[in-house]
């Protein structure tokens, strides 16, 4: 048997691997015999074989001459795989085949015309656009629709007038597609040309979607009417579209509202609050906020328990301003504490002064959440009178409440500094550490001449929590006393204090802190060591690289990860080497961090080189990270290797991950 007939026999084998092997053994060179085999393989029943054949064809140097043969395959109406493979090749050949494909748009076979249109759409150079525009007049409906769709994909502004033009004479399918294409292109159009179609029930939905993307304020009334009068799917589209339009050119929204349609609109929107699509619920709620319809305040309050739209509902409530707050203040006594918390928050956000008495009462509620939120709100709307009550909360049993009170005191302290300082000072000797902690935090943030002194004093507090709060409260500065005091805190017996001190020294950005920080690199506590690595990087920059690098193989991964992060920040050009070394770290967390770093820095080759090693890693997480990284960096090229890994992978989660990566890659490349 000659080599060629043997390859041919192999290619006819029932075994996929044998067929793949045939392709692998294909001698290099642009021979006709090879072309013949490749063309045969393009029609294979297995996608792996077809894919391999596509790649082989694309490696030829004579594609200019042989492309005609590939074009011929488009005519094999009985083999969809073959046609798709040919389409893929032609698209990837790009401009080289544009002229040929333009010629094929006049083929007698309407399927081929449609393929030609799709290929031109895929190539999408400037010469394609006019051929696609011409095809909008093709006698075949599917070809016309494909032309509109591809013009949409290419996104060429120049096509818009032609699309609008074609709209007039088009059939329903093409109109549908044209509206979608115009929307996708996204170039603003004079919507008067589109409005005539608003009464066609079947076109309302795509029309509204299109208006949402390309319309202007003129479309407001149409969409408002569309929301009110349905049908349901068109109302949904109109809601989303109106919301998009408002985002783009919201200023005019109000002028289109009369009292009447505003009511009706508000009511209709309310019906969509329980829609199962989040986007629609959200848009409905957002629009309702714009309508400023206080009658809906309670309804919006109810929506706050719907996690998916709660942010939007809250914004809508805030938009109602103090009128809305007033409405809700009226029902305060009838609602449960959860809703009271929401209302309290709203008082704060809308600066609703009249709510202060309710808030003052709420900070002694038995519900910690209500106390927390009421304290926060008082910080925003309260006055000097609220200060004392807030400071009392410094000894609350729940830390979130204490934090909220501290924040509130700091806020109010901005306006009533002297009073606040006096009140806080009384807490510094409090028996309860939590109270002292809050006081220290507040003092630090309020600042002032004697704050530093108090903080220095608090560094000696018996409670490590208070000492931590004190370190945290220092404003980073190059003041010698401060730096000295914080450096002393590096010797604290509490690791939390030491860690914060390290971080603070880093922020002081002063070279004198380098030597104490270097000592911290040998701290017993891993968090202190990692913080030291980062701090040294921050101050010392590239000059400190050797010191930092030494910790790459710290026995605890956390430190090594800090090394990687820091090096990436200060000497990005050196990440390659370091990240590659880190791939061998015994802690899988470090390996994952290194993989992510390589992806961020687009180090495809490094990863590919190490992929065999990593794909056998004992940690599933490392393997999954590798799979994702390959898919992200190598795209289409990763398909075959991921398929191999899939065969080997035992872990269910990792397999699922692989399958979905492979599916996504295939979908993205039309396989």
């Amino acid at each position: 048997m000659t080599e060629w007939t043997e390859l041919q026999t192999m290619l006819a084998s029932a075994d996929e691997e044998t067929r793949l092997d045939a392709l692998r053994r294909l001698p290099a060179g642009d021979t006709d015999a090879a072309l013949q085999l490749i063309l045969q393989a393009l029609g294979d029943s297995s996608w792996r074989v077809r894919k391999q054949a596509v790649e082989l064809y694309l490696q030829r140097t004579d594609v200019d001459q042989s492309a005609g043969k590939v074009v011929e395959q488009l005519y094999s109406s009985d083999n969809a795989g073959l046609r798709n493979a040919a389409v893929e090749i032609l698209i990837r050949l790009g401009s080289v085949v544009t002229r040929r494909m333009i010629a094929e748009t006049h083929s007698a076979d309407h399927d081929v015309r449609k393929f030609a249109i799709d290929i031109l759409g895929g190539i999408s150079d400037s010469d394609c656009t006019s051929a696609l525009i011409d095809a909008l007049r093709d006698p075949d409906e599917n070809v016309r629709a494909a032309a509109a769709e591809n013009l949409g994909n290419i996104g060429s502004d120049a096509a818009v007038p032609a699309l609008l033009n074609a709209m007039e004479s088009a059939d329903l399918l093409s109109r549908f597609t044209i509206l979608e294409a115009i929307g996708r292109i996204g170039r603003p159009v004079a919507i008067a040309e589109l409005l005539p179609y608003k009464d066609d029930q079947l076109l309302r939905k795509p029309l509204f979607e299109c208006l949402g993307r390309v319309g202007d304020a003129e479309a407001f009334p149409v969409l408002m009417e569309g929301i009110i009068s349905g049908p349901a799917n068109a109302s949904e589209a109109a809601i989303v579209a109106l919301q998009q339009l408002v985002e783009r050119c919201g200023a005019d929204f109000d002028s289109n509202l009369s009292v009447n349609n505003s009511r009706l609109l508000a009511q209709t929107l309310g019906n969509f609050f329980s829609h199962n699509k989040r986007e629609i619920r959200r848009s409905a709620v957002n629009l309702l906020g714009l309508l400023r319809d206080c009658d809906n305040a309670e309804k919006l309050l109810d929506l706050l328990s719907d996690e998916e739209v709660q942010d939007n509902a809250f914004k809508a409530l805030v938009a109602l301003g103090s009128d809305g707050a007033e409405r809700l203040a009226e029902i305060w006594l009838q609602v449960d504490v959860t809703k009271q918390s929401y209302i309290a928050y709203l008082f704060g956000q809308t600066a609703y002064r009249k709510g202060v008495p309710l808030l003052l009462e709420a900070i002694s509620s038995s519900d910690p959440q209500l106390r927390e939120i009421a304290a926060g709100a008082l910080g925003k709307v309260g006055d000097a009178d609220a200060l004392k009550s807030l400071i009392n909360l410094f000894s609350d049993e729940v830390d979130r409440v204490r934090d909220a009170a501290t924040e509130a005191v700091i806020r109010l302290g901005g306006a009533y500094t002297q009073l606040a300082l006096e009140e806080i000072r009384t807490c510094l000797d409090h028996a309860d550490a939590a109270t002292r902690m809050a006081a220290v935090a507040a003092l630090g943030r309020l600042g002032g001449v004697d704050a530093t002194e108090v903080l220095l004093e608090s560094l000696k507090d018996v409670s490590p929590q208070v000492r931590q709060a004190a370190v945290r409260a220092f404003t980073p500065s190059r003041d010698e006393t401060t730096i000295e005091a914080i450096a002393l805190a590096l010797m604290d017996e509490d690791a939390g204090v030491r860690r914060l001190a390290v971080e603070k020294l880093g922020m002081c950005a002063d070279l004198v802190t380098l030597s104490p920080l270097k000592l911290a690199l040998a701290d017993d506590d891993v968090w202190v060591r990692s913080a030291a690595v980062r701090a040294i990087g921050l101050i010392g920059g590239a000059a400190q690289l050797p010191v930092i690098e030494r910790l790459l193989f710290d026995p605890v991964g956390l430190v090594s990860i800090a090394v990687l992060d820091t090096v990436e920040k200060i000497v990005p050009e050196q990440v390659n080497d370091l990240f590659t070394q880190a791939l061998e770290h015994p802690d899988h967390e470090v390996v994952i961090a290194a993989i992510h770093g390589l992806v961020r820095n687009a180090q495809k080759d490094v990863l590919s080189a190490k992929s065999t090693l990593l794909s056998a890693h004992r940690s599933v997480e490392v393997r999954t990270a590798l799979y994702r990284a390959l898919a992200e960096l190598a795209g289409n090229e990763a398909l075959s290797i991921l398929t191999i890994y899939l065969e080997r992978e035992q872990d269910a989660l990792a397999r699922e991950q692989l399958l979905s990566l492979i599916d996504n890659l295939k979908a993205a490349h039309g396989l």
Binding site: Y345, Q369, V526, G557
Partner: protein, 293 residues
């Protein structure tokens, strides 16, 4: 409860790290579409630790000294613990009218008067206590040795379960008769489960993903796992349900929530049609051989 927008955005990298970690730890499954949930619910933990990024939080979960405790907090904020007494009463009716009689008949033949029931993912305890009350109302079991074991991954709900004090929302489908007979009034309009009910129930902390510890539970006659695995993806469901299979005696029953099924998860179980409900059952040994062949 969660209040309003997260101040700290979660990057896609951080999302992948955290979602995998959570998935591996307890099977809860987050997709890019539900990323906002993870972001929102964990924000409070970041604030609590005064952290500035989700990456820091991730490393804290990996390297922190109190990582076990922190994981418990994560689970608490991510799981939905809603439950109430006598939830899904048609299923409980099947349980008392059809399942229990069948089990008792089978057991009496072998002369054992022992019944073991597991409420997996029991939340604050309403489910196992409901089961206990139902059993107390069946005189034929009065001389049986009964174990009802309630387990959950969340420490917070287990604390509530052990306390056994409940407010109105737990009683939304409890008949007044039950409330009178098996509860004692508490201040603030609450009610406390009576001691004879409590005596039947044991609570333990258990992650359904922890196969090794699950094996410690011993063999069960009935497993309730209602409204727990709905948040899992197929791979996670499989893992958990196969553990249940191991824990059940042959012919033991697995009761899932009304909207849950094992279609596409496993065919280890047989579906039995009762008058009030359809229920999964571990087949008899002989059938098992046929089914798993």
């Amino acid at each position: 409860m969660i209040l309003f927008a997260p101040d700290i955005p979660m990057s896609d990298d951080e999302f992948v790290l955290l979602k995998d970690l959570v998935y591996q730890y307890c099977g809860l499954h987050f997709t890019p579409e539900t990323k906002y949930l993870l972001e929102k619910r964990l924000t409070k933990r970041l604030q609590h630790h005064k952290l500035e990024s989700f990456r820091d939080y991730y490393y804290m979960l990996r390297y922190g000294q109190d990582k076990e405790k922190e994981f418990a907090e994560v689970v608490d904020s991510l799981t939905t613990n809603e439950t109430y007494f006598f939830r899904e009463d048609f299923q409980l009716k099947s349980f008392t009218d059809e399942i229990l009689p069948e089990i008792s008949e089978r057991k009496l033949k072998t002369g054992t008067k022992r019944l073991r029931i597991w409420s997996a993912g029991c939340s604050s305890g309403e489910e196992p206590y409901s089961i206990a009350m139902l059993l107390l109302d069946m005189p034929q079991f009065s001389d049986w040795h009964i174990d009802i074991i309630g387990t959950d991954i969340s420490h917070r709900v287990l604390r509530l379960a052990r306390e056994g004090i409940y407010g109105a929302s737990s009683f939304r489908s409890t008949s007044p008769d039950y409330q009178q007979r098996y509860f004692l009034p508490e201040p603030g309009g609450k009610s406390k489960v009576a001691d004879r009910v409590r005596k039947l129930v044991t609570f333990s902390h258990l992650n359904l993903f922890d196969s090794a510890r699950i094996a410690l539970l011993g063999k069960m006659d009935v497993i309730f796992c209602r409204n727990v695995i709905i948040y899992f993806d197929v791979a996670a469901k499989k893992r958990v349900v196969e553990n249940y299979y191991e824990r059940l005696h042959p012919e033991g029953f697995l009761l899932l929530g009304h909207s849950e099924s094992l279609i596409k998860v496993t065919n280890l179980f047989q579906l039995r049609h009762f008058k009030h409900d359809m229920v999964y059952q571990r087949p008899k040994p002989l059938q098992e051989m046929v089914m798993t062949r």
